[in-house]
Symmetry: C2
Subunit: 262 residues, 2 copies
């Protein structure tokens, strides 16, 4: 606690944030004891912080006394550009793609060495998949991940390879040289494909989403049954959707610049 | 700062949270100075807190030096039951409704005396509307709001009336007695309707979404052009969708109980 007395702000904020980090998709509801254990803070500290976070709305308490992330934190989280600028702009185009393909439709961004799924739409006819909005998967074994990796700085590709390319199925690309050639082909063809590289039986096809400045800010993908996926057809559906999203991003940028110049 | 020295934790956490509260839908990107002003904290404090929040991922910094809510806070916000249990369960049913009606589809919950929109799906043919996911609107003048108010404790209805029923259009119900009769009719008919009561030209129709215990946990609604809305048809589309969501919520509950009993 020496650091604490020198810089109480840093330490208290960090501990409050550690309470939030105690929650993840496998721990959506936690008792106070579990929060203290997972956040590695004393029970009395956890009690005080949880009470404050609950009063503010960052946590909410269930009928059975367990805590969950609160409505207010969810509301504030939605202000993140990944939702307010990207997801909301892309959603109508994703719905259209879903209607057209009857398959799972993904919008994803890169965070460090992982894919973060921004939104996932599905239909009753779609193949079951493990992704969920807000969830993370590897870059090298998913369609959207390959698109994001192909357009990332080369240092990111090196870091991925150094960390090791985990094998998820017999078809996962685990050899750095082969991955490099694959990413080159993603760039030259304009789309990525992952054939049963993450999950057996699933094929994903993805294309880049550009922003007003031409940078790749996201990947848009479809996951279908590998047996019935028509890659050419999927690419033909994906490209105009990605272009539609880009155009809306350009319009958004323009209206923001207009606002600033007033 | 007397309170601060007696209880540094409360105060520091509250100030860190006030940095987050500086952001809202009209202030998605803020300079450090704007954060300090809106959070009502000294610039030096804001600087330290913002740096900590940025390091953790609660804030992110733009190319132009402005701050926005960060990806990590968005990810943690998605763990809130309103997303992880309600929105994700409802989304496929909302897509189906959207496909069927070609109108705006809303999922909403009540928070205090307001409607919080959990998700909004739209189509190119839908009438333009002001709601957005994470946004708030009044209870008495929207279809989903009337459903939520009709199934809220009577104290909530009293509080709404006491606070005053704001008039949004010439058709808004602003008289408590009339609102009471309207809510009674919502309960007896099993659906709510709002005809140009929030926005001229728009008609919204909504039904309750029940959970496993039979409580109304959300409202599902469609917003259409008032001139072309076929209320009977919309109710017929909404009811099975709400029932589909209820069934999935029951299944979720059962699988959680199974997990706990293992």
């Amino acid at each position: 606690m020496a650091g604490n007395s020198r810089d109480p702000g840093r330490s208290v904020t960090a501990r409050a944030l550690s309470v939030l980090t105690a929650f993840d998709i496998d721990h959506v509801r936690l008792t106070l004891t579990a929060i203290a254990r997972r956040a590695e803070i004393p029970l009395a500290t956890a009690h005080r912080l949880v009470r404050e976070l609950e009063m503010w709305g960052a946590l909410q308490r269930d009928g059975d006394g367990r805590y969950a992330i609160g409505l207010r934190l969810w509301e504030i989280g939605l202000l993140a550009p990944v939702n307010s600028r990207l997801r909301e702009v892309a959603l109508p185009h994703m719905q259209e793609l879903c209607r057209h393909t009857h398959d799972n439709v993904h919008l994803a961004v890169r965070s460090g060495l992982e894919v973060v799924y921004v939104e996932k739409l599905t239909t009753p006819r779609a193949v079951p998949i493990i992704s969920r909005s807000g969830g993370r998967l590897p870059l090298h074994s998913t369609g959207v991940g390959k698109v994001l990796l192909a357009h990332a700085p080369t240092t990111v590709v090196h870091e991925c390879c150094e960390r090791g390319l985990d094998r998820h199925t017999a078809y996962t690309i685990t050899e750095p040289g082969r991955l490099g050639r694959e990413l080159q082909s993603v760039r030259s063809r304009g789309f990525a494909q992952a054939n049963e590289e993450m999950t057996l039986g699933n094929c994903s096809v993805a294309v880049p989403v550009h922003d007003a400045g031409g940078s790749v800010v996201a990947a848009l993908g479809v996951v279908a049954h590998s047996a019935r996926a028509d890659v050419g057809k999927l690419v033909k559906a994906l490209l105009p959707a990605a272009e539609g999203i880009r155009q809306r991003l350009v319009e958004l940028d323009r209206s923001e610049l207009d606002l600033l110049s007033r």
